[in-house]
């Protein structure tokens, strides 16, 4: 949550209400559980850690005042690190989805490149799993476990294919190789 919120502030400072709306838009029905206060709690923690600072306070004609936060140098470094680090094989679908959106919105990383990196990572894991699957006879207990691991990796790879298609169509890429 902290990384995503931080990334959404990179392009321009913003307030909790706006951030919550953007998160909800990115998550669709999965965002229904998002506690309205959660974004504000996260912003408070980020501020305490010196990753964001309040840059001003907007006073709308109607509604409450809104504290507008911007990313600090340290915050920017953290977002860069988060986008660059391997998502890890156990990253869940929503987390990687938000990472792609954060990458695109912040302009700090190319979502298509993130998808490609992840595909390679998971393909390596799948290759290893398949080797083990084939080494066991069908029916062995470890073979059953490996089958489950392989099927999950396959599902992730198929989803990445869809991610790649959508983000490639959205991301303007200069020059054709």
């Amino acid at each position: 949550m902290q990384d995503v919120v931080l990334a959404l502030l990179v392009k321009a400072p913003s307030h909790g209400y706006d951030l919550r709306g953007r998160l909800a838009a990115a998550l669709g029905p999965l965002g229904d559980e998002l506690n309205p206060g959660q974004v504000y709690v996260t912003l408070g923690r980020l501020e305490k850690a010196g990753l964001v600072v309040q840059v001003r306070e907007d006073v709308p004609v109607r509604g409450p005042r809104r504290r507008v936060y911007g990313v600090t140098e340290a915050g920017l470094a953290r977002v860069g690190g988060w986008l660059g680090e391997s998502a890890g094989p156990r990253a869940d679908v929503a987390e990687f989805h938000l990472k792609l959106i954060a990458a695109a919105e912040s302009g700090l990383a190319d979502p298509v490149a993130l998808v490609d990196d992840r595909r390679r990572e998971l393909m390596g894991a799948l290759a290893e799993t398949q080797r083990a699957v084939l080494a066991y006879g069908t029916g062995a207990e470890p073979a059953l476990l490996l089958e489950g691991v392989a099927l999950r990796l396959q599902a992730d790879l198929r989803w990445l294919e869809a991610c790649g298609r959508v983000w490639a169509a959205r991301t303007p890429r200069g020059g054709d190789a």
Partner: protein, 245 residues
């Protein structure tokens, strides 16, 4: 199986278009690839990405509208029909999703046929077929008709047939597309044995698990190479257990 040190199979700027003008379709668009002898290449991608067309171009079943195909050091894309037919018989082994066995011939006869067509004596053809049936684990099914075999067994016969003329390269188009998991694993184990014996193999597959067994994976999108991966060793299978908290 391959003489010389170059790649067993190479494509340069390989292109296949259909139609013209507004309706021009680039099924394969400037694809470069190299398959070193003894390696397995998997070509993947969504349906319609051009992967089957690419395989047909590589095997001389279709002619490119541009670019070059080199098989074992010889350029083959501009060969005449007769030379190409000869090359397909002798230097390329094809494996198809739907097996394409001759229904009225026994397993052994299906395997012998391409050897006979390539000029082998009946006896040589018989011997080779017997050896290959043994190799694919079907020595006891030699006299069976395809209809008396399971899908996985039929595909193993088809693979034996593809190998009978000791081809430079085996080209397989969705070889496990009609098979269940257990039969797919059998075919992949067989491919593994062939690779260990030095056979060069190119397979088209939409199945990531099949592709993952290759030395190299080419992902096609709209006829072009979207990604070119060598599955690197991961963090080890032990790391997968740690995935779940």
């Amino acid at each position: 199986m391959t003489t010389g040190t170059g790649p067993a199979l190479r494509a340069v700027g390989l292109t296949r278009t259909y139609g013209a003008g507004e309706s021009l379709v680039r099924a394969v668009d400037h694809v470069d690839l190299e398959v070193p002898a003894g390696q397995t290449l998997a070509v993947t991608g969504p349906s319609g990405c051009g992967k089957s067309t690419l395989l047909q171009l590589l095997g001389g079943l279709d002619r490119p509208t541009g670019g070059e195909v080199w098989l074992g050091g010889d350029r083959i894309d501009h060969l005449g029909e007769r030379a190409l037919a000869r090359l397909r018989r002798r230097s390329v082994g094809f494996v198809f999703q739907a097996y394409h066995l001759m229904h009225e011939l026994s397993a052994a006869q299906n395997i012998e046929l391409p050897a006979l067509l390539a000029g082998a004596s009946p006896r040589t053809a018989r011997d080779r077929a017997a050896g290959l049936l043994d190799r694919v684990g079907l020595a006891d099914r030699a006299r069976h008709l395809p209809s008396e075999l399971s899908g996985g067994q039929r595909q193993r016969v088809a693979i034996a047939r593809a190998l009978v003329n000791d081809p430079l390269v085996v080209l397989a188009d969705e070889p496990t597309g009609n098979l269940d998991t257990a039969a797919t694993h059998d075919i992949l184990r067989l491919f593994g044995e062939l690779r260990a014996a030095g056979q060069t193999l190119v397979m088209v597959t939409h199945d990531e698990r099949v592709a993952a067994t290759a030395d190299r994976i080419l992902s096609l999108r709209d006829g072009t190479v979207a990604d070119d991966t060598r599955p690197a060793a991961g963090a080890g299978l032990g790391a997968m257990l740690a995935w779940k908290d």
